[in-house]
Amino acid sequence: MSSRGPATATARRDGDSPLITRHAPIDRVFHWITALAVLLLLASAFLPIVGFKFSWVPLHWITGLVLTAAVVFHLVRASFFQRLRCIWIRVRDFGDASAGRRAAKYTLAQKLMHAAMGTAVLVVTVTGVIMLAKVDTPLWKRDPYLLETSTWGVVYVLHGAAALLILMLTMTHIYFSLLPEKRAYLRAMIGGQMTRTEAAQFHDPNRWSGERKDDPRENHK
């Protein structure tokens, strides 16, 4: 248990540390839909390989379409309706982290996790959409001759490698979310909010206040 746990809990109970919003409802819905889709995709991909035989293809391609829709939604929202540079990894972040300075909205570790997971999910989504051409569904007929055989091999390699990376990243992501000192992030991803005291442990209030209008824009550019 974190040495700050009891103090933080007291602050919340006494109400002397106001709640601030970390994640908007729409972003939390996106996160949990993506999380469920990724877990179902990992299960339907890897359980048959380790011996749990079931009809995995329908579950896999339908969930894949859900993940694709979620990824497209997130790309549009992050690009045009959010401050994309909040999550951008900058040279300054490494200096801040090594010097023990607190971050703005996202810590360096969170940015690195997002970059790795985002890249892997993008690769697996693009290759997965291409691979849909090999599946017969009520919506389309399969066309296995869409690509050359050797090109299909490259698509499969990229899809499989990205899936293995997602497996590792998902394990570590869940692990970090369950650590007592990081529990406020998990609560914020469920309920949207954390206390100012909790936020101030890792985030500089002058760079991320929880109120977008109050945050200095230069910290997000």
Partner: protein
Amino acid sequence: MEIFRITRNAWGQETLEGISWDLLPVAFGLGIAFIVGHLVWRALRRRRGSGKGGQSPSSL
């Protein structure tokens, strides 16, 4: 341990089938190793921090 799955077609040509599933336990093991490594590192940092009488936010 194979990195890729490669088969031969009817004409004896090698065809790339995808990544080898031998890598699945490797990926899972690397994930577990990272978690265990971080737990050990975290415990050592905490022990060292409590020995000095406190922790900084960045040490957590």
